[in-house]
């Protein structure tokens, strides 16, 4: 038998990551209790190493390997670099929070790295099975991470809910994939596109499959009406895990949508466009309206995420490079803002005190005007007020939507973001207009302080000079289409 070994080079960062996850587990075992920083450092080094590998091998054209199951293109590399940065920031923000609560165990790091590996595989998948494997690796790690605080009833419930609903969604996805396979006889993304284009497959079966696939995607993106898990998971999980769940996986989910819908089933655009319109409008409506009623900050941010995912989907509706790159820009901006926001929530937590309610933001300006100002920038950015980056993200998506001829959809989008403005303004109101309930100063390590300040001001600076990120998004999409 003639076995040709595949080209490993395009997957070098994934392979490095896999090796390093094992190293982290072993090193943590050897270092033992009290020397957790070893695992922390190795994790950060791993991410840095992956970033260097990805950067060095940054590909301007698509390379397929592992018999066409794995693809390395500029979109994948861009998204992966963003994922490394996000995960690294998550770790910086969360390590003292987790340490205070006795959860800074080796498994925290290895689970996060496994999840990251899952995301990388998802982003680089060019075969439905690879996609599915990546997705499950990510999801299973996330279920475990949510349940990390195992004595907490809320966390266990959240993990349970997440797992059951997540498994259901995976089932949907698999069923959809199998229907597509039945209709076309292939699971390769690129061959799939060709077969659909040739018209040799049964359209009816494909559409039914597509419905299931879109439902699975909507669940993973937490788009309404498949959003039910998000508020509970956001609230129940330890805040550091919420930060992780809410940030990097959205980047992977973007890649996932691109691979499945755009690259694989791009010929069926008229079919999925309509479904995405419904998902987007519902998400913006449910997210923005339900967020108003929340008193728990994490739940509120969960609903805010749902509304942002609706906006993200708007970019796909225009179904062209312009729209996809706008969505990519949106998701990057969103991740940047989410990182800062949850980091602020964690900062307000103290030893033995969980900042859960939006009232915990009361009088922040009197306690620390720097952090209040950073939160102000983040909230305005989430609202979409210039000159913050959130505005340009909304602007890019809206112009793609108008370009595609859906002016009414753009109007719906801005009206819901007007509703959304209210609950972000409420946070600003609490920080600036109300008196603090406690005058305890806010304690933070210098690494968190520096990174959070950088994060907050990046929201402003990238808003004043948005070209770099916009150009990058456009470049990444253009080169991989």
């Amino acid at each position: 038998m003639n076995f040709i070994p595949p080209d490993f080079a395009p997957a070098s960062s994934e392979i490095f990551m896999l090796i390093m996850v094992c190293v982290v587990m072993l090193a943590d075992l050897a270092a033992g209790e009290g020397r957790r920083y070893v695992a922390y450092l190795i994790t950060q080094i791993t991410l840095l190493g992956c970033a260097i590998l990805t950067f060095v091998t940054f590909s301007t054209e698509s390379t397929l390997t592992f018999h066409g199951m794995f693809i390395d293109d500029s979109m994948a590399d861009t998204l992966k670099l963003m994922v490394y940065g996000t995960v690294s920031a998550v770790l910086v923000y969360s390590h003292s929070y987790m340490a205070d609560r006795g959860m800074l165990k080796g498994e925290f790091f290895s689970l996060i790295l496994f999840a990251t590996l899952g995301m990388m595989v998802m982003i680089s998948a060019s075969h439905f099975l690879t996609l599915y494997i990546g997705l499950e690796l990510l999801s299973l790690s996330l279920y475990a991470l949510v349940a990390l605080r195992r004595e907490s009833l809320m966390a266990t419930e959240a993990a349970m809910k997440f797992f059951v609903l997540g498994a259901l969604a995976s089932g949907f996805l698999l069923y959809g994939m199998s229907l597509v396979y039945g209709a076309t006889g292939t699971l390769h993304v690129s061959m799939l596109a060709q077969i659909i284009q040739s018209g040799a497959s049964s359209k009816e079966v494909l559409v039914v499959g597509l419905v299931f696939i879109v439902a699975g995607i909507a669940f993973k993106l937490s788009a309404a009406p498949f959003h039910m898990w998000a508020p509970d998971v956001y609230q129940g999980a330890p805040t550091a895990v919420t930060l992780f769940v809410g940030s990097a996986p959205k980047l992977a989910a973007f890649g996932f949508v691109m691979r499945l819908l755009v690259e694989g089933m791009g010929e069926m655009v008229t079919d999925w466009q309509g479904m995405l319109v419904i998902l987007a409008v519902l998400s913006m409506a449910v997210g923005n309206i339900a967020a108003i009623a929340q008193t728990n900050i994490k739940r509120m941010l969960a609903y805010s995420t749902i509304s942002h995912m609706g906006f993200l989907l708007l970019g796909f509706i225009s179904a062209d490079t312009n729209g996809y790159s706008s969505s990519l820009f949106y998701v990057i901006a969103y991740v940047l803002m989410t990182l800062g926001t949850f980091a602020m929530v964690m900062l307000l937590c103290r030893y033995g005190f969980e900042a859960e309610n939006i009232d915990d933001f009361k009088g922040l300006n009197k306690r620390s005007s720097l952090y209040a100002f950073i939160t102000l920038l983040l909230m305005l950015s989430l609202t979409g007020i210039p000159p913050m980056i959130g505005f340009y993200a909304k602007f890019a998506v809206l112009q793609a939507v108008v370009n595609a001829g859906y002016v009414w959809l753009a109007v719906v989008g801005v009206l819901f973001s007007l509703i959304g403005a209210f609950y972000y303004l409420r946070i600003i109101k609490l920080m600036y207009f109300d008196e603090p309930e406690t005058i305890e100063p806010i304690v933070s390590n210098s690494d968190v302080r520096i990174l959070l300040s950088a994060n907050g001001f990046a929201v402003l600076a990238l808003g004043i000079f948005p070209q770099s990120l916009m150009g990058l998004s456009l470049y990444a999409i253009q080169n991989s289409m």
Binding site: S369, Q399, A410, V414, Y432, F433, Q467
Partner: protein, 494 residues
């Protein structure tokens, strides 16, 4: 005429840089430093704006002091700024009001001084940016950014109901501007990838989109002006804002709406403007007549002046949509004059409020016995507010009424009732507050205005009289621009 020095950028960014410097002074231990830096910054801001007037070429309607750099290439957005005869006077007004606001808050604001002063300086720079942007997205960025400092000013330093007022102010204005953003995006695609406002002026647009664009702009600008029936945020915001906030709101921020009509609605959608002019005139007249009557009934001085602002701004929109040169120039003069007068009126109420912490007319009476100098100033501004000839209030209203009579007698008739109602509500308030017997022990203990307050009111009094007696320097710079605007408006773009 060429002017190589980036003067406009300096006018925009100098106050912002000073504002950031004021923020950097930190908490209230350095309050005095913060005050002085803001004063220096605001006065410098005014001084650098003067060459804008002296080097202005009033013979042309084209944009001057142009600067054009690429900002972000992805959507062909440029840092494109310049001024014409419409925006230049408004920039000067803004730069003039800023030092006044800083001085007005000098002793009154004791808490978080650096944030207060910094917010005003930054807002001043942002507003200059709004008036000089020639790129739609740059305009939009400045336009929205101006919401943030005002929101904080009302919310932090305002009166008891400040939170409600601040959020109402923010959401109302955001609603209007978001639809304007969509209109810009539509125009971007219609013009095949340009955000330049001047390109839009020559862009052919069919009637239906033109009307929709007009309505999107209308919502944005009508809320800012504010026109009836979307004016309800203004009295709340004014009542709760600190004195400086009220002054800036009335003198500057309302002008953004009026400016928007001239820069966007009229030249970009001229056919829709003609088509809907009658509706706009009726809305404006309702503001003039009905809001004037509402002002009559107010028990709160600030609310009264707020409603009188709405009525006066009704004159501005009326003047615009008469669509002739006299009307538009009159409306422009009215905008500038209203900036001085309403600012001065709010300062006068602020003077009383700082002493007795009440804005209720009923709490005062006989103030003239204790504050004769103040009473004299207040008298002048009240007369100007009522439109007395010889003050700036008269010039604009007279020009607008003159041009209205050419269009339709009844427009002029209803507009002219303002001379009665305006006099009624202003002078009646003046009588109840200033004249009569000393009403309470509080009034008995009043001290007349300090040197600081005297200086502020004197400068404004001179301006009001100057425009009232000799408005030529102001109207002269507008002629060419207004003529050019009218050619845009009279050419159909269907």
């Amino acid at each position: 005429m060429s002017f190589e020095f980036p003067l406009l950028s300096l006018i925009i960014w100098l106050p912002i840089v000073f504002g950031v410097a004021v923020f950097a002074t930190g908490d209230d231990r350095n309050a005095q430093i913060a005050r002085w830096i803001s004063l220096i910054g605001s006065i410098l801001g005014f001084l650098v704006a003067i060459p804008l007037y002296t080097n202005f070429d009033s013979a042309t309607g084209a944009m001057q002091f142009l600067e054009n750099y690429q900002w972000f290439e992805r959507f062909n957005v440029n840092y494109h700024i310049g001024v014409d005869g419409i925006s230049m006077p408004l920039i000067l007004l803004n730069c003039f009001i800023t030092p006044i606001v800083v001085v007005a808050g000098w002793e009154v604001i004791k808490e978080r001084v650096s944030q207060y002063m910094g917010a005003f300086l930054i807002m001043s720079g942002i507003v200059n940016g709004v008036f000089s942007s020639l790129d739609a997205i740059l305009f939009y960025v400045f336009w929205e950014a101006s919401l943030i400092p005002m929101f904080l000013i009302i919310g932090i330093w305002g009166g008891p109901n400040r939170v409600y007022a601040a959020i109402k102010f923010f959401l109302y204005t955001l609603l209007g501007s978001l639809l304007m953003l969509i209109a810009f995006i539509y125009l971007y695609h219609a013009s095949e990838g340009s955000f330049s406002i001047e390109d839009y002026h020559n862009l052919a647009i069919p009637m239906t989109p033109q009307i929709l664009i007009f309505i999107a702009f209308l919502l944005a600008f009508a809320v800012k002006v504010p026109m009836w029936p979307v004016h309800t945020w203004l009295p709340d915001a004014h009542v709760e804002a600190p004195t400086g906030g009220s002054v800036v709101l009335a003198a500057i921020l309302l002008k953004l709406g009026g400016y928007g009509f001239l820069r966007f609605s009229l030249p970009i959608a001229p056919d829709a403007s003609h088509y809907l002019a009658e509706m706009m005139i009726v809305l404006s007249l309702i503001a003039v007549v009905y809001i004037g009557l509402i002002a009559l009934m107010q028990a709160d001085m600030k609310k009264l002046i707020a409603y009188s602002s709405v009525a006066h701004m009704g004159f501005v929109t009326l003047g615009f949509f008469l669509l002739n040169a006299y009307g538009i120039e009159g409306a422009m003069v009215q905008m500038i004059s209203h900036g001085f007068i309403s600012g001065a009126m709010f300062l006068c109420v602020g003077v009383l409020y700082d002493r007795l912490h009440s804005r209720q007319i009923a709490d005062y009476g006989g103030v003239v016995n204790k504050m004769p100098v103040f009473a004299a100033f207040f008298m002048l501004f009240a007369m100007a507010n009522a439109g007395l000839p010889g003050t700036s209030g008269f010039v604009g209203e007279f020009m607008v009424i003159m041009s209205a009579i050419k269009v339709n007698f009844w427009y002029a008739f209803f507009a002219a009732t303002t001379l009665i109602t305006g006099a009624a509500y202003t002078l009646w308030m003046y009588k109840r507050v200033i004249f009569g017997a000393v009403a309470s022990p509080g009034v008995e203990s009043l001290q007349d205005i300090s040197k600081r307050e005297f200086g502020l009111l004197a400068i404004l009094a001179i301006s009001v009289l100057w425009i009232g007696i000799y408005p030529f320097p102001l109207t002269e710079v507008m002629h060419a621009t207004v003529d050019q605007l009218l050619t845009h408006v009279s050419n159909s773009k269907l």
